[in-house]
Subunit: 143 residues, 2 copies
DNA sequence: GCATTAATAGCAAGTAACCTGCAATTAATT
DNA sequence: AATTAATTGCAGGTTACTTGCTATTAATGC
């Protein structure tokens, strides 16, 4: 089993995606890898506040999302939350077709990787590109 | 077939929900009833801007949502969009378990009433209260 | 190692969506 | 018509996020 979270892995990941290996990017990857739930931009800002500029954080997250390194889930306030993507994600095929769970008590966003989004047949004229399925409720810790 | 959109209907709806029949509320109901797609708060503000205060609009929408008169869908920017609910919606049983479609071109949000959200079995400890399924893509008009 | 340069980071300032507190108004009731 | 509790409107504030521009730095060639 490969060691998770070493800087070397993160550097490889950045290289694979034609991104320069910079301190802010590695910091963000480190934080996201260490968390079991998706993390909101404000939370990331609290955690990384002293290390990197807020605007840089926004841009790092945007770049990572475009490259398929992380994916974005909007929580019940409409705030962006980010989680590390599955290995299968790439820039061209962004496969985050699993279900997300947003706890209405602690507000954490969980990736329910074991649940998959079913195929839906669109009405005539409508073309589906991506699907988001978010379940709201109470998580195991709050229950 | 009942006439849709008469003030009298809206007044009945408000009465049914123990809400006073005020001008701002009736105006909002009128606009929402006249639209085929869900409408964002900013759009509602543009439409109703001269008639009612922005804060009142926020509060009317919040009240309506709590009563089950309308439901809220977050579009791809995380902005709240509102659509009139199905008859089956009440304060206690908010049934908006249909699929929403967010066009990435015109940004309109459609309610795909004919598609239903499938039942999902939650992991141990997780309790589901509500489900949101949003499909992103290109709508019939933009295609 | 040093110079080059294109990408990236940081700073200042701004915007959009939404909220809170409080006083003024108004719908429903008597 | 008077009462009162709900609702509205205004002032001002907060949060998430963006844009423009300059400074810095990672990668590359010498």
């Amino acid at each position: 089993m490969e060691e998770m979270g070493s800087d070397h892995n993160f550097e490889q990941l950045l290289e694979k995606n034609d991104l320069k290996k910079t301190k802010p990017r590695i910091s963000v990857l480190k934080v996201l890898a260490s968390r079991k739930t998706a993390t909101s931009q404000p939370d990331l800002e609290d955690i990384l506040g002293k290390e990197i500029d807020r605007v840089t954080l926004y841009r790092v997250l945007k770049t990572f999302e475009e490259k398929g390194i992380i994916h974005k889930i909007l929580d019940l306030n409409g705030t962006a939350n980010y989680a590390a993507c599955d290995e299968s994600c790439t820039e061209h095929e962004h496969d985050d077709k699993h279900v997300h769970f947003n706890c209405t008590s602690c507000l954490n966003v969980y990736c329910l990787d074991e649940l998959h989004v079913p195929n839906l047949s669109m009405p005539k004229g409508f073309t589906a590109a991506n699907v988001t399925l978010i379940v709201y409720g109470i998580c195991d810790k709050c229950n």
